[in-house]
Amino acid sequence: MEESVVASEGLEFKWGKKKGVGGKKKDVQFYESFIYDGDEYRLYDCVLVGDASPDSTEPFIGMIIKIWEHANKHIPRKVKLLWFFKPSEIAPYLEGVPDVLANELFLASGEGLGLANTNLLEAIGGKCSVLCISKDKRNPQPSDEKINSADFVFRRSFDVKHCKVVDTIDDKIAGVDVKFIFNRACSEKEATAAQNIEADVNGNSDSLKPNGPLASGSGRKIEDNHFESSDCKKSSIGCIQEKEKGHYQLATKKATVAEERSNKDSGSRGNHFDGKAQESEVKKQLTKQKSMPAEERYSNSFEASGSRIIHSTSRKAQVNDVKKQLTKQKSMPAEERYSKESSGLNDRPLKKQKLDGSVTVPDGRNTTLLQNITSDGKKDTGSFKRPRDKVTLEEVPPEKRSFVKKRDLGVSVSEGKTTKTVTEKGLSKKPSFGRAEDKMLADDNERNYQVTEVCRRPDAGKSKWFRSLPWEESMREAEKKGTVVLLQNLDPTYTSDEVEDIVYSALNEQCEARMIERTSVTIPHVGEALVIFKTREVAERVIRRLDEGCLLLSSGRPLVASFAKITPPGKPSSFSGHIKLHKTQTRREMRDAVATSHCSQPNNLEFDMAMEWCLHQARHEQASESVSKRQLEEMKLLRINFKPKLP
């Protein structure tokens, strides 16, 4: 007899084929299939089960291995699920495990906690397709297109007792014969025919004792309100379309039902985040986008208490997933903003350029131009008298404009007001070099541009009888004198010595150099170095030569030089992110713990706050990566061939 029971939530339910009875008093009825909310679920189908905690987006995946109901209708219907592990759930045990695919799952095997659980039937949140791609002989190999269209794949198992990934699949897992775990060889139609032939109500085919499933005893409690993420929604729709409806049960409602059900689900955080991220992308407000999800997560994480470690690491992984969604959309407006900003920076020198142009047109002489630019009172107007070559006069104004432009960009790099006056000073000093400089420039330009190797500079510059000062001191000294130059666009693998050699060979100047180490905040594909010269004139000369000419290194990059703005020494008084409570507010043990270092456990507020910081860090990593990728591509477009083309 088949019952048609309307479940409490109004979701339609109907039993399918019976399998047998069991139990001490023969009052437990086992089934092979059922229809729930329009979907047909059979034994050994893979289903999604929502997570109980309020802030997880990913459902758990399990395979139905038993379905039953008590004669006593007050005892709710149950299913036993054999779990699949996601890589994020067993991350600590995945060290050294090769080739974990993005949608790969691990079947639980062995014995112990976490293998399988009994759950209420109503906890099932939808179907999904899990394909076995193990190369085991017993497993019918699926076609490539099936693999691509499956929601998940699995080929290895995870032994819950020994907590290890196992490559082979045993003959029986959780009392289930392995042939049910592998892909079904026969098509749906054959399967239903076989079921039709099977014994009916009083059949003794079921040898499994009902006592087993009733003992649950593990932490995965599921409430009636199941959660679904947007992935689940897609998968349930896909599954319904893929599975053949050759079953003899009455025609079920199709994808629309599943959609309705997922739409009515209010707690799906995945949708929530996506929607939020999208709408704020439209608004293009960087800060709003970031602070809102951060606050949401923060308030929700306070509600979650007593979560297991596995759970929290999965949360961290979910943080990563969510973060990826967020930052993908966030970094795009970030980049747009940066480009907006940087184009804003470009606008400034353009304006300055116009100023230059407007001045030179009536005069045609650079001297008055310089007078207009240098705003501080330290100009050497006397030295402006030297006239310039006719030839260079034409060349120099356009060069000068770009020079000014580059200077300004150099200014924005250094972010200081003082350097502005420095560069202007530099500009005012420039014509004082007069003819000698021009001649050298002309020499540069006319030198035969053969490829020259960088040779080790002679040690004449280094005095052997003084102990050389440590870099820090000499740098601070040099900064006062204004002889520190920042060389950019180097190959990041250069060493300080190589930089010194380059400067010597190419520019014939002695110097001391130090490569700036790569950290998480530096651009990974370019290198920078701080170079100290002996005198200020040398420094200026070098900068000028590198600006007006182009020194191309064998890495295909021209060198860029500017005056360096160095952060003044001294440490900030406090570090943002470290909370200082009053002495009265903390107990002694806590103070000790704070003063030393410790790993935070997931059962306190500190952990939640740390998670926020992790999110913050991860977001920035993502943004930096995308920015640097874009920059690398831009550079690649302008790649210059090192070997000169023969004329």
Partner: protein
Amino acid sequence: MATPEEVAYEKFLERVRRTVYIDELTPLATAPVISSAFNQFGTVKKVSFIPNYLGPKELPMGVLVEMENEEMTQAVISTVSQLPFMVAGMPRPVRACAAEPNMFVDKPKKPGRTVRFRWIKPNDPDFDKARRVKRLARKHSAENSFMLKKQLEEAEKLSKQQAETAVTHHKKFEMMDKLLYDGVAQKLAGRYDLKGFPYR
């Protein structure tokens, strides 16, 4: 047969493999603090700070911690990636990743590589391209310093927000403690006839 240069480079690479790069550290941390912190994972051989010459002042510090052998390095990295590890202050955790040769200022030259250069003539078609590259390089570094500034601002905001909530929580717990201690809670429990109230 390896030249002495290559030998030196190999030794350097081996040292790199044993080193962890720790980021997001407070600039107030000192070398002994860091070495005692990471001594929990294994023997720390050397701690070297990465100086911050060009970045803004509030930038979190980076440190290279050299351990005894590679396994300890792996242990550090895997633990710090899974659980938030806090050094000398909470709750901002540090970040760890494997060190790279470019992070060392005293790295030896890569053997077998020579740097070559040439000046480009102004009338060479590549000259203009080189100019643009130079401009692009400056633009990029401007972009990066801007991004850094934004990141620091966000960090400031987050930390202010957390400080506020921490204080609020503290007040809440204090209040609860006080009530239980004073006996007010018990009296109320008696009043409302709550059975089995704790702390009786």
